[in-house]
């Protein structure tokens, strides 16, 4: 029952009405927690115990850490939380991958190991709520947040259904203070929430799903059957698809949260305008990249232990970033590519920073455009790696970016809707670099125009979406 299924259209109004009809903080939160667990059960029926168990452990650990008087005790409790979360994540996500690789290695050495015939279904949002739980206990350990004393409050922080399946990964410092007083839903939140939900739905149902159906899946399914121009379009379309799919989910999550009176952090900040690879990760999946920075890169020593160690830390963080996305060698290669790019970028940055003429060149628009193009090229290469059916076919797709004159034209048989949808998907990015033309929509006529406009968009999505109910890409991570 993801956001784009008809069942969610029944679930959401019931929860909204029930939540706002109840009086008092305690009942509202109990109701919302029950609804969130129900949402989890409907999406991932066999695994409710996973989130319940980890919630109970992290809640108890948080209190124990705060109550403990000596540092070693605090550390032991923190260790319990980190190990519990990572152990369950690893068990569900990485055991099949590990088995396959150990078996392949054993076969190379002559052992007779059977092929894996079993598989494990991933519990809903496990990659997200485990990281949220770890962040909470670490923050309590660091004294950055007080341990939550109400189980309902903590469980709701973990299971809040708009962000449960695919983030954003919310920090306790961001969410828990909002729970102190009963949340109020203002006209502004309703309006902003509606705008975010509609934007997210258009991104997902109209742009991402259509691009997938029109070109991305066909071309990546059999790249050799298409000419280089079509393969180039498919790679660009895939970049727009994954952005619209994931940022669309984040927009919907943020919009829904507003309707319950909560604010969730921004997860995407125009990533395709990034002018360096470091800039890209400050804009793409922000809640995850800052999590890696605060809870992995800094504890590893960050940049405080010399150049070599910093570079190793960067590589390690990005390889683990890739592995977090998926238990496959493609994702590890994706992480390694980004790690290398980060190391190269940092080395270059440190080498030329402070040199007058170099700083002047780097401040020019031309340099920024070169940086933008280089960043985008690395990103596209990374995306090819994670979607390619095989390494050989991936190479074929990457070679398409070297012009050889074999294409029959710019579109080369690609449906005209592909460039239109790509343009539409990038509208937000383009609008961001244009002068602000916003006018006040605060009056009744403005609200009427928006309301009717949203109604027209809903009809557009119902009639012209390629098929309601396709899963969001990041829910599978």
């Amino acid at each position: 029952m993801i956001f784009t299924t008809p069942a969610f259209l029944v679930f959401l109004p019931l929860v909204l009405v029930g939540y706002h009809a109840l009086a008092g903080r305690a009942w509202k939160y109990r109701f919302l927690l029950g609804a969130s667990w129900a949402f989890y059960s409907l999406c991932s029926p066999r695994y409710l115990w996973v989130i319940l168990l980890l919630t109970a452990i992290d809640f108890a650990v948080g209190k124990r850490i705060e109550d403990a008087t000596d540092a070693r005790q605090k550390k032991r409790w923190l260790g319990l939380s980190v190990v519990s979360n990572l152990a369950l994540l690893a068990a569900f996500k990485y055991v099949p991958f590990a088995y396959d690789n150990v078996a392949a290695l054993a076969r190379l050495l002559g052992a007779d190991v059977p092929n894996r015939v079993w598989t494990l279904l991933l519990p809903l949002g496990i990659s997200f709520h485990t990281f949220q739980g770890i962040a909470y206990t670490v923050d309590v350990y660091r004294g950055q947040v007080r341990a939550v004393r109400s189980f309902t409050d903590y469980a709701l922080f973990v299971a809040f259904f708009p962000q449960l399946a695919a983030g954003p990964i919310v920090r306790a410092t961001e969410f828990l203070p909002q729970m102190a007083v009963p949340p109020t839903v203002t006209a502004g939140r309703i309006d902003d929430g509606a705008h975010l939900v509609m934007t997210g739905l258009v991104k997902k149902l109209f742009i991402a799903d259509w691009l997938d159906k029109l070109i991305v899946s066909p071309v990546f399914g059999d790249p050799a059957a298409f000419d280089p121009a079509a393969r180039r379009w498919a790679v660009v379309a895939w970049a727009v698809q994954i952005y619209c799919d994931f940022s669309g989910y984040s927009d919907i999550a943020r919009g829904l949260a507003k309707w319950f009176g909560f604010e969730l952090p921004i997860n995407f900040n125009l990533p395709y305008l990034a002018t360096s690879i470091a800039d890209f990760w400050r804009r793409w999946h922000v809640s995850f990249s800052t999590w890696l920075r605060d809870y992995l890169y800094f504890p590893l020593g960050g940049n405080r232990r010399g150049t070599a160690r910093t570079n190793i830390n960067l590589l390690l963080v990005f390889v683990l970033c890739g592995l977090w996305h998926g238990a496959a060698w493609n994702w590890i290669a994706y992480g390694f590519l980004y790690g290398l790019a980060m190391v190269a970028h940092r080395t270059f940055d440190r080498a030329v920073s402070g040199i007058g003429w170099a700083d002047a060149v780097r401040a020019t628009l031309t340099w920024k455009l070169i940086g933008w193009a280089a960043t985008l090229t690395i990103h596209l290469a990374g995306l090819v790696i994670v979607r390619m059916p095989s390494w050989g076919q991936g190479l074929l797709i990457l070679k398409s970016f070297v012009p050889d004159g074999s294409s029959a034209g710019i579109l080369s048989g690609v449906p005209i809707w592909v460039p239109i949808l790509i343009g539409l998907g990038m509208t937000g990015h383009v609008a961001a670099v244009l002068p602000r033309l916003r006018k006040s929509w605060g009056d009744d006529a403005g609200a009427a125009a928006r309301g009717f406009g949203y109604a027209a968009l809903v009809v557009l999505l119902v009639c012209f979406g390629p098929g309601v109910g396709q899963s969001f890409i990041y829910i599978q991570f």
Binding site: I416, A445, A447, C463
Partner: protein, 372 residues
């Protein structure tokens, strides 16, 4: 705000305190966007509902249209069945056959693509308020496969009373039928949702008129759907898709394209759907309608691919024939004179096959009708 729109359902109270007015204004600001959104949805839905004929043409509900067409025409013979009947029997080629001394001058093919015996009963129930003189029931193995249920039947044909009866008669399909029934009801609550596919295809045709070639596949689909709708509405229920009419299975096989995979006989088991064959008999018996069962012809490939299934099906048919004493016509390929050239795919007749089989069936029925 001067000049601002103020809805009439929020009256002004001259005596209300400034605080009460402020609360009312804040409440209005909070709810106005959802209300306008809702009003917009209702308005668009009403507009689509008013133009439903236009959109329905591009996404015909063939089950409902055939049932309505049959009820309207009041034919004196009805041929009931699934897609083998829908694609393979043309009642217009059978009219005039003499049945117990007088001609049957109007026929209707209630062939439901993908349908099961459960669906056939409900089509008959609602499509024949005036009972015909003769009911020809074309059966084939896939109609009786309890591993499959057709959502379209419960969605389009069944009333709540039908669902309740079905739950009692076929407990194995109770949940499925109920779910499909309510999905159908909810879908019909919104004209936009109900006709969403029709709106999409209609829009493609309009766009093609302005910008030719912008979406050729969708426009092709739209034209096929419109032609299908026209054929169902204007004819005797025989409205084969052009794909079926012109295709030859023998040539397709030779070209290495035998057609889409056929999985309707997978996990074969019988018993539950068959209860509705008895319901069809009861319905006919209560109304004095003569019933003839026709074992529809299939390709040799289908029989070779599913020998056990076809064996079970034929054994069931023989048991049933003996215990109920119903006339069964076995339309084997040899007796009709059909080969792969008269089939479109592994189970459906093409246009030439349908013509040949319809004439053959008319003659066999005429023979039966001559008997006392």
């Amino acid at each position: 705000m001067p000049g601002a729109f103020r809805p009439k359902f929020l009256p002004s109270f001259p005596l209300a305190s400034p605080r009460a007015r402020a609360v009312r204004a804040a409440t209005w600001r909070t709810v106005r966007l959802p209300l306008f959104l809702l009003a917009g949805l209702v308005l668009i839905d009403l507009i689509v509902h008013a133009s439903r004929g236009t959109f329905a043409r591009y996404a015909p509900d063939d089950y409902a249209l055939k049932v309505a067409g049959c009820a309207q025409r009041r034919p004196n013979f009805v041929i009931l069945g699934g897609s083998p009947v829908a694609e393979g029997v043309n009642p217009d080629l059978m009219t005039g056959l003499i049945w117990h001394g007088s001609p049957l001058d109007s026929g209707y093919a209630l062939g439901l693509p993908g349908g099961t015996t459960t669906d056939f009963y409900h089509a008959l129930l609602h499509g024949c308020p005036t009972p015909p003189r003769l009911l020809v029931c074309g059966v084939t193995a896939s109609d009786w496969n309890d591993a499959r249920n057709e959502p379209h039947g419960a969605y389009s044909l069944m009333t709540w009373a039908d669902v309740r009866k079905c739950r009692a008669l076929r407990p194995d399909a109770a949940w499925w039928m109920t779910k499909q029934y309510w999905e159908g009801r909810f879908a019909r609550a919104s004209a936009v949702y109900r006709y969403r596919n029709g709106i999409r295809l209609w829009a493609a045709v309009q766009a093609d008129a302005v910008w030719p070639g912008c979406s050729p596949a969708t426009v092709r689909e739209a034209r096929n759907q419109a032609a299908y709708d026209d054929a169902i509405r204007g004819g005797c229920g025989y409205a084969p898709a052009s794909w079926f009419v012109n295709r030859r299975y023998d040539l397709a096989k030779a070209a290495g394209d035998p057609g889409p995979p056929f999985g309707f006989l997978d996990k074969y088991r019988t018993g539950s759907h068959l209860k509705y064959l008895d319901e069809i008999l009861s319905w006919a018996s209560d109304r004095g309608v003569a019933v003839v069962i026709v074992d529809m012809p299939v390709t040799a490939d289908l029989e070779a691919k599913y020998p056990a299934v076809m064996g079970e099906y034929r054994a069931r048919l023989a048991e049933w024939e003996e215990s109920r004493g119903v006339a069964v016509i076995r339309a084997s390929r040899d007796s009709v004179g059909l080969g792969d050239a008269q089939f479109a795919d592994i189970i459906h007749l093409n246009g030439a096959g349908a013509a040949k089989f319809s004439v053959w069936l008319r003659d066999r029925l005429a023979e039966r009708g001559g008997r006392p």
